[in-house]
């Protein structure tokens, strides 16, 4: 074989090492323990200002939801009509709504409702979706066909429409649990699709073959190897959908098919404030702002988690 490095009539220039980015490769500490995907994700997250801002906001929102009494000494259902639409006064920084209830107190107490519905619905949706998606992706064949068609069927029905139809039946005796169940009933489809895809991808990776060769059963493979390796996209969609369910609860309460009227909810407060839009728009503003800030925090958190776990789809 002749010398291939220099072709006739061509001089080759080789850059010195310190002029190339190659030296970074040498800088890598190969003796340190390999960092896992989760550690990498956590490092990316910590440096993301969006994660820090939304994280702090979410911590604050959770504290308000857990201990509303820390923030107000009043009862959200204590309302006197003589205060109807009254302006802000000492001890009542946001004024009074049409029924004469303290807007600030109701905003504080509404946090728990929004957050608990959003969290419970998301947990249930992720569990249900992951189970259905994982079964479809892992077993394949006719099980996959049946479950995938079932997913298509539920996906074609808008969640708001389905929720209204079902909740209309329980209008007189609705509760947080019924709303959460209805949301899970119509909401599992997108998680199921993603879980199915992730499981199908992880199923064909070498570590799975290796594990089977070492004698582990399919079920052990599924729980020990496949599911942990398909978690990232499921966590991403879970974080993103939390905001969706908070909005959905508010929308249902706004339409009057959501929570019972005794439960303090931003959605129903906004709906009631509609009547005083002309006279005192601030009554509408405060619960709307609380709702928007909460949703915004979770959307920002979802974006940050997505950027960390799925580097291919950076939004910022």
């Amino acid at each position: 074989m002749t010398d291939m490095t220099t072709l006739p009539g061509q001089e080759r220039y080789v850059a010195p090492l310190d002029e190339t980015p190659l030296q970074d490769v040498d800088k890598l500490d190969e003796t340190a323990p390999a960092s896992s995907m989760w550690a990498d994700a956590w490092r990316t997250l910590r440096r993301n200002p969006m994660f820090i801002i939304s994280g702090l906001l979410i911590i604050f929102i959770v504290i308000v939801a857990l201990f509303p009494a820390l923030f107000t000494k009043q009862n959200p259902n204590y309302c006197t009509l003589e205060n109807s639409l009254g302006p802000a006064a000492a001890g009542h920084p946001m004024g009074f709504d049409f029924q004469g209830c303290d807007v600030y107190t109701r905003v504080v107490y509404g946090t728990r409702t929004s957050l608990s519905v959003g969290l419970c619905a998301t947990i249930l949706v992720v569990l249900l979706g992951t189970i259905i998606g994982a079964i479809a992706g892992f077993f394949g064949g006719w099980i996959d066909s049946v479950l995938s068609r079932l997913t298509d069927i539920f996906l074609a029905l808008p969640i708001l429409l389905g929720a209204i139809v079902v909740l209309q039946m329980f209008k007189t005796n609705s509760s947080i649990w019924k709303i959460v169940l209805v949301m899970a009933l119509f909401g599992w489809t997108s998680t199921a699709r993603i879980a199915r895809g992730a499981v199908m991808e992880a199923k064909n990776l070498e570590f799975n073959t290796a594990s089977t060769a070492l004698g582990s059963s399919p079920m052990r493979n599924l729980f020990r190897h496949i599911l942990p390796n398909s978690l990232a996209p499921i966590i991403v969609i879970g974080t993103t959908s939390l905001a969706t369910y908070i909005v959905l609860e508010a929308t249902l309460s706004f339409l009057g098919v959501g929570l019972p009227s005794t439960t303090v909810s931003w959605g129903s407060d906004i709906s009631q404030a509609q009547t005083s839009l002309m006279t005192n728009p601030m009554v509408l503003f405060y619960p709307s702002a609380a709702l928007a800030i909460t949703v915004l925090s979770f959307i920002m958190m979802g974006d940050a988690v997505k950027d960390a776990l799925d580097p291919k789809s950076r939004t910022l």
């Binding site: 069927i153 074609a156 708001l160 429409l161 209204i164 928007a292």
Partner: protein
């Protein structure tokens, strides 16, 4: 192409049947007696009730009712509402209004979403990019009904430049604010989608190759970056037409527009099962057709996709 179309249509059939069955089951198999509801507080004459039940096929088993509905729906006969109106008439009145509203919202979100998304994606990091990003995040966070009230308050009451509610026979001006409210969330998503697509495509090798070949910046942007970036945007827009028609429920309720969304909500409240099922069936067909059109549009935008 023809084979592909046929396969897609065949795939769609079980989904359409399944979803209509699901809606039918939800609406009719759950507790609540529509005949009793018709009479309100008045005592019900059993003979009359039996006659009404027979007229609306309520005396037959649920699955038989469903097949009768399907058979009639094939000939566009959706039966009558419990108040005696022909369902097809009610739908015929409501659909044109919602189609206008949805089209206006669609044009609004497509035009402004793509324009702002492109500006933002090309000038990443500039102050107006930051402003566009923050506004789009806010639009996504604020639920449609809040945006609706805000729009009503600002445009309708404070500045009084647009009508607050629309009513029975809305004009273009009447529908302007509701359409903007309806399209605002999707517009924000389109901005974000276009922005991230453009900014990732700009860094691709084929863009550098095109520049190296000596193409002008304008040509590179139009022929390469924009064309490639718009594929996911077109997908989103296509699926959104049907979503807009379905999602019109909130904005039509706020602005009192008597379109499909308003009609659906009212008929759910009144227990008009027939009307609900008919509307959902039609909306689903629109959804399916839109998805099909999007898939066919792919071929025009992305020559790599071939239909086998």
């Amino acid at each position: 192409m023809g084979k592909y179309l046929l396969r897609r249509v065949l795939q769609v059939i079980p989904v359409v049947l399944g979803t209509t069955l699901l809606v039918y089951a939800l609406v009719f198999a759950l507790p609540g007696d529509p005949v009793k509801a018709m009479f309100g507080d008045k005592p019900v004459n059993p003979a009359v009730a039996a006659q009404i039940r027979a007229e609306y096929n309520l005396d037959k088993p649920f699955i038989v009712q469903y097949f009768i509905f399907l058979k009639n729906a094939l000939t566009l006969d959706f039966g009558k509402t419990f108040s005696g109106q022909l369902v097809i008439d009610e739908i015929g009145r409501a659909f044109p209004i919602t189609i206008r509203l949805a089209l206006m919202a669609f044009v609004f979100e497509a035009v402004f979403g793509i324009i702002f998304g492109v500006i933002s994606g090309l000038k990443k990091g500039k102050w107006y990019d930051t402003v566009i990003l923050i506004v789009s995040l806010l639009l996504i966070s604020v639920p449609t009904f809040v945006t609706g009230f805000l729009g009503q308050y600002l445009f309708g009451i404070k500045w009084s430049i647009l009508p607050v509610t629309a009513g029975n026979d809305p004009t273009f001006i009447d529908l302007l604010l509701p359409a903007m409210v309806l399209g605002s969330v999707s517009m924000a998503y389109i901005i974000r989608l276009t922005r991230s697509e453009i900014s990732s495509n700009i860094a691709e090798d084929y863009v550098r190759t095109a520049r190296a070949k000596g193409m002008s910046n304008r040509q590179v942007m139009l022929r390469h970056v924009l064309r490639n970036s718009l594929i996911p945007v077109v997908t989103y827009l296509g699926q959104d037409i049907a979503a807009l028609m379905g999602g019109a429920m909130i904005s039509e309720t706020i602005f009192n527009i008597h379109g499909v969304g308003w009609l659906t909500y009212q008929s759910i409240l009144k227990g008009e099962g027939n009307l609900v099922v008919s509307i959902v069936t039609l909306l689903m067909l629109i959804f399916v057709v839109c998805n099909l059109i999007v898939d066919l549009l792919y071929a025009a935008l992305d020559p790599r996709i071939r239909y086998a």
